[in-house]
């Protein structure tokens, strides 16, 4: 234990005396939170710009039915309607102004409605090109359906309605869903980059060789480095939550179970880093190796979007990525209050941590062949 504490003490002193390291330890989580906070803290009811040209004008006024249709579009509150003068050339306008979506109510719309032969024109990129198009199309479809029912006087009776009940106790915003993922991601990058970097730097300086001539064991060295990364993890978690609460009114707070998970993550990721460090000899290669591990995990473990959105084979890959369990566990404990899941994921993370720390101690070679 004396040796482990000496390693921790040395690493902490080196950390706070290195201004760039100190800066980035604090700045990275701040930037992460500010960036993603700015993106995801906006209103959760998305609105879409829609240009509307009503060409069904009689005596300078829109016809009753065309006006009814445009009013119904407006009432959905999903569109920011931009009215285009009926005399403008729509195609030219789209090209010149780079308009993304335009709905045209053609001349004679009201008359065609009466003869049950009316149509509207929706100009936009297909859903394969722009994902928002699917939502826009779906909303316009619904408006058309209701409009048809109203105009034809065949309003169907209401059989089923939806009652929405939240399964989370607080009034969380999307940013609250995102914060546990940010904490997990920060634990991963800090742990993996930190462990690989610290090991590689000390190998280059000859410190590892020197330590190998002392009674220090490899396991003690690895535990010392993991403890140091645990302190770094605590700092970045506190920074993320502080910025989140102060700037973005984040409401999720870590429970005791979340703290278990954070500790387990802060053990597992440096453990992985120590195993990788065994195969990285130079500083230049250290960053590349750390990036190669953290980058796929960042995107495939449900940090930025739910796993359900991914294809099946990627979901299978996610199941073997440690970050998935940390993300799931932290969301379950911080948002849904699911203690069982939090503890299960903690156990998985601790298992992963123990596996990699022991593996690291076994394969780390201070002796030369």
């Amino acid at each position: 234990m004396r040796r482990v504490l000496a390693i921790l003490n040395g690493a902490l002193r080196t950390w706070y005396r290195s201004k760039p390291t100190l800066f980035w330890t604090l700045a990275f989580p701040v930037l992460l939170m500010l960036l993603f906070g700015a993106i995801f803290s906006v209103s959760q009811d998305p609105t879409f710009d829609l240009h509307l040209q009503n060409q069904d004008i009689v005596d300078g006024q829109p016809t009753v039915l065309s006006k009814t249709f445009s009013d119904m579009l407006n009432k959905t509150e999903i569109f920011n309607l931009h009215i285009v003068d009926s005399t403008e050339n729509a195609t030219l306008l789209i090209e010149e102004q780079g308009i993304q979506r335009m709905l045209i109510i053609p001349s004679g719309f009201q008359a065609d409605c009466i003869s049950r032969n009316a149509s509207i024109i929706l100009k936009m990129a297909p859903p394969e090109v722009e994902t928002a198009s699917a939502t826009v199309r779906s909303v316009v479809d619904n408006v058309v359906e209701i409009f048809n029912a109203v105009v034809s006087g065949q309003s169907p009776p209401k059989v089923v309605t939806i009652e929405f009940e939240s399964i989370v106790s607080e009034s969380f915003q999307f940013i609250d869903w995102f914060v546990p993922g940010l904490i997990a991601m920060s634990l991963m990058t800090t742990g993996i980059f930190g462990a690989i970097g610290w090991n590689t730097r000390n190998r280059e300086l000859g410190i590892l060789k020197k330590l190998a001539t002392t009674p220090l064991s490899k396991l003690e060295w690895i535990i010392g480095v993991v403890l140091y990364e645990l302190v770094m993890a605590a700092i970045s978690t506190v920074v993320i939550l502080t910025i989140g609460i102060l700037v973005f009114d984040v409401k999720v707070l870590p429970s005791i179970y979340s703290i278990f998970l954070i500790v387990s993550g802060a053990i597992a990721f440096p453990g992985i880093g120590m195993v990788v460090a065994r195969f990285v000899k130079e500083s230049d290669a250290a960053d590349a190796a750390a990036n190669a591990i953290t980058f796929p995990m960042m995107f495939l473990s449900g940090t930025f979007f739910p796993l359900e959105m991914m294809p099946d084979f990627l979901q299978q890959i996610a199941k073997v990525l440690p970050l998935t369990y940390l993300n799931n566990g932290l969301r379950d404990s911080m948002i849904y209050g699911n203690v069982t899941s939090a503890l299960t994921n903690t156990a998985i993370m601790l298992g992963i941590g123990a596996f990699f720390i022991i593996l690291g101690a076994l394969i780390t070679s201070w002796r030369e062949e």
Partner: protein
């Protein structure tokens, strides 16, 4: 001199694939003795040291330090407690002070000498609280040697302790080694400077291409007469052994570099 054996090496061989780095060497170092291993780069000096300090496996033969076998796991643990090592090209933590660095290494042993006294011994008292990165090359080397002494070792291994130092810093280092000898510490030193071996060593072993080609007291091996050409004749290799003359040191500096690349 106490004639107890500190290091015993018998028919030691180390091979890297087809290359034989150490080729069946045998020697004995007695307690309290300063033993200098002299030879050009690539002669097998560092490989031998790294086998003795349990950093490297041997291919065949036997090596013991303070009676403990370097190949035996328990023996290695005992050896590590009792030795102090200055690896070649060693640098320590840039952002720890002189004192913090020494405390760090002392804690790896759990025993050792008083750090303040050690700092005085290596003449770094004025720099006690200076960061390692702010020390000059000579002072860095002094601290590095001090890290090899923190556990009050019975045997100290110094792998090319004066390489890259200016003449004054070298002389300081020599005085330090002489001080260790006076205290009765066994010192195993590698160098490619003949004058260093002559000044410091009780016994000199000259090694080239993995073989000991001469061994004995400095006068007995006629150390002053050994020059680069001797090694060239031995194996047709360039070597970097030089005489004690400072003029020779300066005038041959360029040649030394060429030799290093080709050897």
């Amino acid at each position: 001199m106490d004639m107890e054996v500190a290091i015993e090496v018998k028919s030691l061989v180390k091979k890297y694939g087809n290359l034989t780095a150490v080729d069946g060497i045998s020697f004995t170092v007695h307690k309290g003795e300063v033993f200098a291993f002299v030879g050009p780069n690539g002669a097998g000096k560092t490989t031998t040291v790294e086998i003795l300090v349990c950093l490297r496996n041997l291919t065949s033969g036997e090596a013991r330090v303070n009676g403990f076998n370097v190949q035996d796991r328990k023996g290695q643990q005992e050896i590590r407690k009792r030795i102090g090592v200055l690896p070649q090209d060693f640098n320590t933590f840039d952002l720890l002070t002189v004192k913090e660095n020494l405390i760090y290494y002392k804690k790896m042993y759990g025993h050792g000498i008083d750090i303040d006294k050690l700092i005085e011994l290596v003449d770094l008292k004025d720099k006690t609280n200076a960061l390692y990165k702010n020390l000059s090359g000579g002072l860095k080397k002094r601290l590095a040697i001090a890290t090899a002494l923190v556990n009050d070792p019975e045997v100290v291994f110094l792998d090319e302790p004066t390489t890259g130092l200016d003449p004054r810093a070298r002389r300081d280092m020599w005085n330090l080694v002489k001080g260790l000898k006076e205290q009765g510490t066994t010192v195993f030193l590698t160098t490619h400077y003949m004058d260093e071996a002559e000044t410091l060593a009780d016994t000199v072993a000259i090694i080239n291409s993995g073989k000991i080609i001469a061994m004995g007291t400095p006068p007995r091996v006629n150390i002053k007469t050994w020059r680069n050409e001797d090694f060239d004749r031995q194996k047709g290799r360039k070597a970097i052994i030089r005489s004690a003359s400072p003029n020779s040191f300066r005038s041959k500096a360029g040649k030394r570099r060429r030799c290093c690349r080709s050897s």
